[in-house]
């Protein structure tokens, strides 16, 4: 039996159940009949926003312009332990880079991929432009990065007739007077249209209308300023927002500003202040852990990740990070337990099986190793992953002494990703062992190479030994 229902009610109900497309469709129909139905307009705006919403806290990409025109940095050379820009040596007694690999920007590899874990910071504009921009390198991006643009244009596809709201013809002043419409409209402009300038206009007028007493508008203003790269202004707005009301999000945004301004210590203090107000807040704890990790203080990062797990034992990032830390501190068995837990929780991807395979190998559970890698290979999403998995299988082969297999694996890794430097290196080592040497005895170049190596990693034992040997040789001459 057909039961008639009010379309607006139905759309509202769909929205609550996050059936956003249906909701938007119904609203479109209502608006066709009555273009001035504010309720339907507002609901559609919300639905469209929700479709593309990404938590602003997580969006973080540093553009060339931000890096170069950064007038907020105080000292060119920061004191050790106070800056994220210096690759800083290990402070917390964590594993050395000999054991735990580094990214190109000199930070330890984490167990979890998130925005800005790969961003480096070149010294000059020229260098920034020259830095290669392939996916697996530390790359600068322009401020209107592809990702933001894609978010902005995604809406166009769903509306072949053009944008739902024509921003240029919008009377922002009028809307800023209507509190029941303005917030929705702001989120639409900011998240869906990605038009920060107009969003800023609206927020500025609305906060004025609210007599500068509404924390929400201040936070939104801060978000806009942040996007525009005006960090000091953003900081001011967020601080003022916090004075009105303590909100978790504001703490996160403010900490993000401090991280961008390269003041990790301030950010840490802020997080701790936030934890006083919101004890056990997972996002704040994670923030602290991430900063510690980026500053190469792995031990305290792990402590905080453990705190996160005490609050929320299904937190994937924390489990993955603790797992990788155990792995790099020679406890593959424990790491294996963390990774297994992830598997049981339903994380099912190539990387996890890859890690499981390695853990199994180093924990001497050889029977599981190859089947893990087999699964990893079955799950690969792109060639880079495939190359990595083959590279690791090659390692296992080296470990069990099957050099032919290792040779083939490294070659396969290269076939999938021909700038896999490690695979080249290890292939060369294998060739060396086969005695295929093209040049030997060039002490001068050996010495200069060793010196460069020492610059890159002063504590490396092999380099030091080699250098010693070379110096002796030179003395003999």
């Amino acid at each position: 039996m057909e039961v008639t229902m009010d379309p607006l009610f139905l759309a509202w109900s769909y929205f609550r159940r996050r059936k956003l497309q249906q909701c938007s469709d119904i609203c479109t129909k209502i608006l066709q009949d009555n273009p001035y139905d504010q309720a339907a307009w507002s609901l559609k705006t919300r639905a469209l926003t929700e479709m593309v919403y990404i938590d602003e806290v997580e969006v973080d990409q540093e553009g060339i312009a931000e890096m170069m025109l950064d007038e907020s940095s105080i000292a060119q050379v920061a004191r050790p332990g106070t800056s994220l820009r210096l690759p800083g040596t290990s402070q917390g007694g964590g594993p050395t880079p000999a054991v735990r690999p580094m990214t190109q920007s000199g930070r330890p590899i984490t167990g979890f991929v998130r925005p800005s874990t790969q961003s480096g910071r070149p010294g000059t504009m020229e260098q920034a432009i020259k830095t290669p921009r392939t996916a697996s390198t530390a790359r600068p991006v322009t401020s209107a990065s592809g990702r933001f643009i894609r978010l902005g244009t995604a809406s166009m596809l769903t509306n072949p007739d053009g944008p739902f709201i024509n921003l240029s013809r919008l009377n922002l002043a009028k809307y800023s007077q209507k509190p029941n419409l303005s917030r929705t409209l702001f989120e639409f402009i900011f998240h869906h249209e990605n038009d920060v300038k107009n969003a800023l206009d609206l927020a500025a007028q609305a906060t004025e209308h609210a007599q500068f007493k509404d924390w929400w508008w201040k936070v939104q203003l801060g978000k806009c300023y942040y996007r525009l790269g005006l960090y000091r202004e953003a900081e001011k707005q967020f601080r003022s927002g916090l004075n009105h009301q303590e909100v978790v999000d504001t703490y996160l945004y403010l900490a993000k500003v401090y991280q961008r301004m390269d003041q990790p210590i301030t950010a840490l203090n802020l997080f701790k202040q936030g934890l006083d107000h919101f004890p056990g807040e997972v996002t704040l704890l994670t923030g602290i852990a991430r900063i510690h990790e980026e500053m190469n203080n792995i031990a305290s990062a792990t402590e905080y990740y453990k705190d996160v797990l005490k609050q929320d034992n299904t937190h994937v990032e924390a489990i993955a990070c603790i797992g990788s830390n155990h792995f790099y501190t020679d406890q593959p068995e424990i790491a294996l337990r963390f990774y297994r837990r992830l598997l049981q929780m339903g994380v099912y991807n190539c990387q996890l099986y890859n890690n499981l395979g390695l853990c199994c190998f180093y924990a001497q559970q050889y029977d599981m190793t190859l089947s893990s890698f087999e699964r990893a290979l079955a799950l690969v999403a792109n060639d880079e992953e495939q190359a990595d998995v083959w590279y690791n299988i090659g390692h296992v082969a080296v470990g069990i002494g099957d050099l032919i297999l290792a040779y083939q694996c490294f070659k396969l890794a290269l076939a999938f990703n021909n700038d896999h430097a490690e695979a080249y290196n290890n292939l060369a080592v294998l060739e060396l062992r086969k005695g295929r040497i093209e040049q030997i005895g060039d002490l001068q170049s050996s010495y200069s190479a060793a010196q460069k190596s020492e610059d890159a990693f002063p504590e490396h034992v092999d380099t030091q030994q080699l250098l010693k040997q070379l110096r002796q040789q030179f003395v003999v001459l």
């Binding site: 009610f9 507002s42 690999p101 009301q245 909100v247 978790v248 994937v316 060369a428 005695g435 380099t463």
Partner: protein
């Protein structure tokens, strides 16, 4: 993501295609049985009302479970948007069921009468009263409004923001909420006797019942859009709190008197407030929640709540701490806790499509079954056999080839390019005329014929600048066996200087699918074509006096130039064919004069570089002409002094431009830095709240900007000039090579080497230009095959400069080297391919002196292992060579055929020689006194020594590499891992080829 799933206790699928939402479920003892057990009432948007009493008595009959547990099913006339159980009938303590339809509110009583048979309990639904609503209802709440005890009143929120209050069967009043747009959740807080809702302004608003009751009545029947006109109090919220997000649900639990909290489930956060609107705590949710329910308070001061989300999870929180997470089979839209006879505290959840589930928390693992990898059964023999087969195959393949596939003898495609013999009637050129001369174009037809199925083929044409083609890329249709495609395009001059080369390249990339690889293996095929001279010059009248002259001798009687150049003869006034003139479109004239008496030809022009094209053409046509005539021993030669001075002019010009390009680059970056610095200062000024004066910074910015632009334009212009200079330099180099080979009668092989030396690059870039690469190549030649003695080489190799090629300070060194090279070639130095080996010249000398001296070098006297090693090395080195210079590949093959033994010996010597040279340098030439004959043995011994040393050091390295590898596993990120560590070795390797060259 959870470890466990919610354990099924009882479940039912309600209807088909029915829809449910938040309000569609309630639990309570609706039939007033008095046992305290709850019934589950579910209404759907399709108007179905169902009451369940779940139990597991007959769990064995799974199919009947839901039928038996279902007490009642009624189809009502209208959609049901909310059901509530409460004391809605006056003078009755019994619980009644309120059902909210879009336009109607009905209150029913549910009663059951016990039957005699097993399934005999009979339930009835009786309408007690109903209200027709003026406005579309959205949701409702109930409670003891105004503090009355004993019965519940109802408050309905309409879609347009009116709150309608009903006291049992009478309508009491209606009020419009101020600033309303879209309805939010509504709840009654009995502790403060107020209503809470989250408005479209994203704030929580609290209205006292009292305030509502005394506010203006009249407007409730008026149009809501009109402002208030009648008297009465304006409705104002008691307090508001900005949440900044829309709320999904509100809840005011009352477990104990001490706890007085209000919970708000927002779209992104969970808030908990005190009754006065102060935040108690909040939690940021990292998922999209769908519903929640605070259900109890286990320890004092904390509240436990259930939270459902859109990733099919049911989470149990104690305040902000996650206590349990369970997987549900669906996204719950509503969740309740109910008590049933067998089990207390059952979680009842409802999905949007009518899945009703009663569950409890248990440690059933959430059944995430990993899909099976298509692993073969471990039939070890079979696997072993396959493994062996594959290994064999791999070994074979590694022996014959490296990563690159072997080229097929028969190509899948054949390309034939036909250059039309006459110029296009209508020129396609972009520049229509240069200095009054019309620019012609010529059509080239390329025929691509496929001998097998070919997919996604692309044809690319490239010609030397300043030549250009009308279309340089063609996408070809997939071709079948035997089919062919023809593409045509025109080539023309697109610049005001002649090109260095009139040939063009055609590249076809295609993929030929095989059985195993339907996408196809990518393949590339290349072909060349040469354009007619007429494309860049026109016939003209000869000039007598010119700057540059070149004379070519032949051993045949002079020929009529007009027969050689028929297309240019038409305009020539000189009928006896003694002179012919070409005028390039750029203006320079080249005259060819044939001597009447001697067998000489003179080519003269004002521009040294422009002679090249004509000379080349002349030499080619002579060859062709005399081959046609059947003359076998046609020889041409150049007696001349090599015109190095003219050549160096061209080199210098090119170098000057490169230097100025570098200067422009530096200036540009300097200005850009200045520009950014000004920008930064301006930015800080503009950002200031109290604007400071700009202090002419804007003028400075403008000036810097125009400087940058002017510099950029100048740099651009310089780049164009550099391109031209490079084309000219190439012409000059070609000419030099040709003259050198004519002069000394070099074989084609040697000319090829010479050409590769003088023209190492097709393009020069700011990073790597012609001068440095040419210098490197020339000095390598000087050191290797053109050097005077092996000792010489050793010292020069040991003193090899920095391995990095860069723009030199001046061209003096280069000029000196080129002069030296010409000198040595003139003195009989020969360029040979095997000269790649550094000791080649002495070896040759040796060869001449004592032909047997080299032969026994492969003596088997040494132990077999040693021999094997060196042979392996030989192979390796041989393999290496083609990658350096492709051209040599062919040569080496030829050589191999002719004299396998000597070349092998040579290469072997090379293996040792490389070490020998270094040793020599190191040990201050201790081995100087060794005789030459012995020197061939000597390196072998050294090799042995070396290799011993090597093996010990490799052991060392083995250990270290093992150690390194431990840290080497890639984790999830594919960032770089260990490069820094192993780079010692990598760099060693990298340096090698460069050291060889420079």
């Amino acid at each position: 993501m959870s470890l466990f799933k919610a354990r099924d206790w009882w479940s039912a699928a309600l209807g088909e295609g029915e829809e449910f939402d938040q309000g569609c479920i309630c639990v309570g003892d609706v039939d007033n049985s008095g046992t305290g057990h709850d019934k589950v009432v579910v209404g759907s948007y399709m108007g179905m009302l169902r009451i369940f009493f779940p139990h597991t008595k007959k769990s064995s009959e799974a199919g009947q479970g839901s039928a038996e547990a279902q007490l009642l099913e009624v189809q009502l006339q209208n959609a049901i948007i909310q059901v509530e159980v409460g004391k809605f009938v006056s003078c009755s303590e019994l619980l009644h069921l309120a059902v909210l339809h879009p336009r109607k509110l009905s209150v029913y009583s549910v009663s059951g009468t016990a039957g005699n048979v097993e399934h005999g309990d009979q339930y009835q639904l009786k309408l007690v009263y109903e209200h027709n609503l003026q406005r579309t209802a959205c949701n409702m709440t109930y409670g003891t409004f105004g503090g009355v005890t004993g019965h519940h009143s109802l408050c309905i929120q309409s879609m347009d923001g009116m709150l309608m209050f009903f006291e049992q069967d009478s309508y009491s009043f209606g009020r419009f909420l101020p600033g309303f747009l879209l309805p939010g959740p509504l709840i009654y807080n009995p502790r403060t006797d107020s209503f809470l809702t989250v408005s479209s302004a994203r704030q929580l608003e609290s209205y006292k019942y009292e305030t509502l009751a005394v506010a203006t009545e009249a407007e409730s029947r008026q149009d809501p859009d009109l402002p208030l006109k009648t008297g009465g109090k304006r409705l104002m919220p008691d307090w508001t709190l900005v949440l900044g997000e829309q709320a999904l649900d509100l809840s005011v639990p009352s477990f104990s008197h001490s706890s007085s909290s209000t919970f708000i489930l927002g779209e992104r956060n969970l808030h908990c407030l005190h009754d006065n609107g102060q935040i108690r705590f909040m939690k940021k949710l990292e998922f999209n929640p769908s519903c929640f329910l605070p259900y109890t308070s286990v320890t004092d001061g904390t509240t436990n709540l259930l939270l459902g989300n859109h990733t099919n999870m049911l989470l149990v929180y104690q305040d902000v701490t996650l206590k349990w997470a369970a997987q549900l089979p669906f996204v719950p839209v509503a969740v309740r806790v109910a008590n049933f006879p067998e089990l207390k505290g059952v979680v009842v959840s409802l999905s949007s499509d009518g899945h009703l589930l009663c569950s409890y928390m248990g440690t059933d693992p959430s059944f995430f079954s990993t899909p099976k990898v298509d692993a073969r059964e471990a039939d070890y023999e079979q696997v072993d056999a396959e493994m062996k087969k594959l290994q064999k195959f791999i070994r074979e393949v590694t022996r014959t080839q490296d990563i690159l596939p072997k080229t097929d003898t028969e190509e899948d495609l054949s390309i034939t390019a036909a250059v039309s013999s006459s110029m296009d009637s209508l020129s396609q050129a972009l520049i229509q005329d240069i200095n009054g001369l019309p620019v012609p174009s010529v059509t080239i037809q390329v025929k691509v014929k496929a001998s097998c199925v070919v997919q996604s083929s692309k044809l690319t044409v490239s010609v030397q600048p300043p030549l250009a083609v009308t279309q340089d890329q063609f996408v070809l249709e997939p071709m079948g066996v035997g089919s062919s495609t023809v593409v045509a395009f025109s080539a023309f001059l697109n610049g005001r200087y002649p090109p260095a080369d009139l040939t063009g390249d055609i590249t076809v990339s295609y993929s030929s699918p095989t059985e195993l690889n339907p996408k196809g293996v990518p393949r590339v095929l290349q072909s060349r074509f040469s354009l007619p001279l007429l494309l860049v010059c026109v016939p003209s009248s000869p000039t007598k006096s010119t700057k540059f002259k070149i004379t070519v001798d032949t051993n045949q009687p002079p020929v009529d130039l007009n027969t050689i150049f028929p297309e240019f003869s038409a305009k020539s006034e000189d009928k006896d064919g003694n002179s012919l003139a070409f005028q390039f479109l750029s203006g320079t004239k080249v005259t060819v004069l044939a001597s009447k008496t001697s067998q000489r030809y003179r080519i003269q022009s004002d521009s040294f570089e422009d002679i090249w094209l004509v000379v080349k053409e002349l030499v080619q046509r002579f060859d062709l002409h005399f081959t046609k005539l059947g003359v076998k021993d046609f020889k041409k030669s150049f007696s001349g002094p090599i015109p190095l001075q003219e050549y160096f002019l061209s080199v210098d010009h090119h170098f000057q431009l490169r230097v100025s390009a570098q200067q422009y680059q530096d200036l540009l970056s300097e200005r850009a830095v200045q520009f950014r610095a000004i920008q930064r200062r301006l930015l800080t000024r503009f950002k200031d709240k109290t604007p400071a004066p700009l202090q002419n910074l804007d003028t400075l910015l403008d000036a810097t900007y125009s400087q940058v632009m002017a510099l950029a334009e100048a740099a651009e212009e310089n780049r164009a000039q550099l391109e031209e200079a490079f084309a000219r330099l190439r012409s000059a180099s070609h000419l030099l090579v040709l003259l050198l080979s004519l002069w000394q009668g070099l074989t084609p092989d040697q000319s090829v080497i010479l050409e590769a030396t003088l023209l190492p690059l097709l393009q020069d870039t700011p990073q790597l230009g012609w001068e440095e690469s040419c210098d490197a190549a020339v000095s390598h030649l000087l050191r290797s095959c053109l050097s005077r003695s092996p000792k010489d080489q050793a010292t020069s190799l040991a003193q090899a400069g920095g391995p990095v090629l860069g723009l030199p300070h001046d061209t003096a060194r280069l000029k000196k080297h080129i002069t030296l090279m010409c000198d040595r070639i003139g003195k009989g130095g020969r360029l040979t391919l095997s000269s790649e080996a550094n000791v080649q010249v002495p070896a040759q000398v040796q060869n001449l002196a004592a032909p047997g001296g080299v032969e026994p070098i492969a003596e088997v006297a040494g132990d077999g292992e040693e021999l094997e090693l060196s042979q392996e090395a030989t192979k390796f080195i041989k393999k290496k060579q083609p990658s350096k210079k492709v051209k040599k590949d062919k040569d080496s093959k030829e050589k191999k055929e002719v004299s396998r033994e000597p070349s092998e010996a040579a290469v072997k010597e090379e293996a040792g020689g490389a070490e020998e040279t270094v040793k020599e340098a190191k040990k201050e030439k201790k081995e100087k006194k060794e005789s030459k004959k012995d020197s061939s043995k000597e390196p072998k011994e050294e090799t042995k020594k070396e290799s011993k040393k090597e093996s010990s050091s490799s052991k060392e390295k083995k250990e270290s590499s093992k150690e390194k590898k431990e840290g080497k596993e890639s984790s999830k990120e594919s960032g770089d891992k260990k490069v820094s560590k192993k780079s010692v070795k990598v760099k060693e390797k990298k340096k090698e080829p460069e050291a060889g060259e420079g």
